[in-house]
């Protein structure tokens, strides 16, 4: 697999295939992040597309000696926050817009759907920066230092953001916590 830096160099020269490979490789992570920030599937994809186009425009500012992901995530964060500020009306849409997950029984289907809904609502209620921080930390596996670089904030602030975000999400999921249920039984 060709490294991101090589693909970025080829894309900078106008290579469509190389840019397409970069998009394919990073689209899922970027779309997860933009979805966490926008709380809306359609806005998330719009913001993710804007992020990739913006990244293409700014490829000269990418330092090939550093990882491509955090650089792209910074652009995606800014793109999604910009879009949210432009389209405040559509934020009322629910985050959970997908079809219900397939489960072993209708009861678990309903519960899974309810969990997703609660988690989505809790995530949407978080401040934008906390949403980005917890998504990058818990979903994308970024370190506090990397998130600090992406968001251009101190590492201590990232730790605090992740802590508060996780606590809020846990509170939302408390009724469905299996450990707690076991204790109750």
């Amino acid at each position: 697999m060709e490294p991101d830096a090589a693909l970025a160099a080829q894309a900078a020269a106008g290579d469509r295939e190389a840019f397409g490979a970069l998009v394919r490789r990073h689209q899922a992570a970027v779309r997860r992040l933009t979805r966490a920030v926008t709380g809306n599937v359609h806005d998330a994809d719009d913001a993710a597309q804007d992020a990739f186009l913006s990244a293409l425009d700014r490829l000269e500012t990418y330092d090939p000696s550093r990882p491509f992901g955090p650089w792209l995530m910074r652009i995606a964060t800014n793109a999604s926050i910009d879009l949210v500020r432009r389209r405040t009306v559509r934020r009322a849409d629910a985050l959970d817009e997908r079809s219900p997950a397939r489960g072993p029984s209708p009861a678990s289907d309903a519960e899974a759907s309810e969990i997703r809904q609660r988690l989505g609502t809790a995530l949407t209620a978080l401040p934008e920066r906390q949403r980005v921080a917890v998504t990058l930390f818990d979903v994308e596996g970024y370190s506090h230092a990397e998130i600090a670089a992406v968001l251009a904030i101190p590492e201590g602030t990232v730790r605090s953001d992740v802590f508060h975000a996780r606590r809020a999400l846990r509170v939302a999921l408390e009724p469905y916590d299996p450990g707690r249920r076991m204790e109750e039984r």
Binding site: R16, L53, D138, V139
Partner: protein
């Protein structure tokens, strides 16, 4: 919780349509990037040509302007009014002198 969050945020599709949409929107930017080196090279060539041609161009324009303006200035000045006949006389004299010299040398 991480898994739940990941499930919640992960898109349902495989990203093919998304990638196609991004590539469609970026077609113009990619084309500009492909053609940029040629444009820069062409720009450099024109710059060099302009730099080289500019003195000649200015000299040619000044020469042309002088060629047009000088006869008119001569005709316009009072002293210059007699000049055409004087020039003609001189030309005539010089032609005659040259003819005489040629005849002398030929003999």
């Amino acid at each position: 919780m991480s898994d739940l969050l990941r499930q919640l945020l992960t898109p349902d599709d495989d990203g093919t349509a998304f990638t196609a949409a991004v590539l469609l929107r970026s077609a113009g930017a990619l084309h500009r990037r492909r053609t940029a080196p040629q444009a820069v090279a062409a720009g450099l060539a024109w710059t060099w040509l302009e730099a080289w041609a500019r003195p000649w161009l200015i000299a040619a324009i000044v020469g042309l302007a002088l060629a047009i303006a000088l006869p008119q200035l001569r005709q316009g000045s009072p002293a210059g009014a007699a000049e055409p006949s004087l020039t003609a006389d001189l030309m005539g004299a010089s032609t005659g002198t040259a003819f005489v010299l040629a005849e002398t040398v030929g003999n």
